[in-house]
């Protein structure tokens, strides 16, 4: 599974993207966030404000209950500020 980070989420995690292989019990976006938070102090800091983070799965905006699995591209970022 490929995980991408943007904006301050990327800064806190410390990398823009990484390949991860979460255990089978990680089945949705919310579960993935909890699992990622345990990977490093940077991840923990980034995901400490879980409610401030938005997600996309395979480049579509996704809610916390969205299913994730091997081969998915999952991105985490703050609310968007374009325009």
């Amino acid at each position: 599974m490929r995980v991408l980070y943007f904006s301050w989420v990327r800064q806190k995690v410390g990398v823009a993207e990484e390949e991860v292989a979460p255990p089978p019990e990680v089945t949705d976006v919310a579960g993935l966030m909890r699992w990622l938070a345990g990977r490093s102090p940077g991840h923990a800091a980034a995901f400490a404000e879980a409610r401030a983070i938005r997600a996309a799965v395979n480049q579509d905006f996704a809610t916390p209950d969205r299913h994730v699995g091997p081969g998915d591209e999952v991105a985490f970022f703050p609310p968007v500020t374009g325009g």
């Binding site: 996309a56 480049q59 703050p78 609310p79 968007v80 500020t81 374009g82």
Partner: protein, 158 residues
């Protein structure tokens, strides 16, 4: 109608050239509405850095543009959004909507910029002369502006 033109790019763009390209010699267009977003120098801002999600950003804008074309009778529309480091006074985003009548052009242009603000994956970081940097936070009022398009349907074309 012609397919929406969507571009995400670092380079500047030329609004006059884009307007001419959208007209393209057609004679069924009665008006083109435009919105040009410009980098503003708030609080001694030296530059604005726009980050995006290559691939998703283009897809998200294309989807928003397709939604505008489905909701209003448009002859065409153009959305160009820049990324990278922009200085105050530099254009950030251009929205052009063409229709046979002004109401559709004006309403769809407002819809597009409202939805771009809340649904296009871009993140702005402000850089100040002091060396301080700050991520721009999403504004609640932008959500309110975008939400007004959830229920309302466009008026029937005249």
């Amino acid at each position: 109608m012609t397919a929406p033109r969507v571009r995400v790019q670092e380079a500047p763009f030329d609004p006059a050239a884009e307007t001419a390209a959208l007209l393209g010699g057609r004679t069924d267009i009665g008006g083109i509405a435009s919105f040009l977003g410009v980098c503003r120098a708030d609080d001694g801002l030296e530059a604005m850095v726009l980050e995006h999600y290559p691939g998703m950003t283009e897809r998200a804008i294309a989807r928003i543009a397709a939604e505008a074309c489905a909701r209003w009778p448009l002859a065409g529309c153009t959305v160009i959004h820049r990324h990278g480091r922009l200085r105050p006074g530099e254009p950030i985003v251009l929205v052009l909507t063409a229709s046979s009548h002004r109401a559709a052009a004006l309403e769809s242009c407002a819809f597009l910029i409202d939805w771009l603000k809340t649904r296009a994956p871009f993140w702005k970081r402000e850089e100040f002369a002091s060396g301080e940097t700050r991520w721009v936070e999403a504004k609640a009022e932008d959500e309110v502006s975008a939400a007004r398009w959830e229920e309302s349907r466009p008026a029937a074309p005249a």
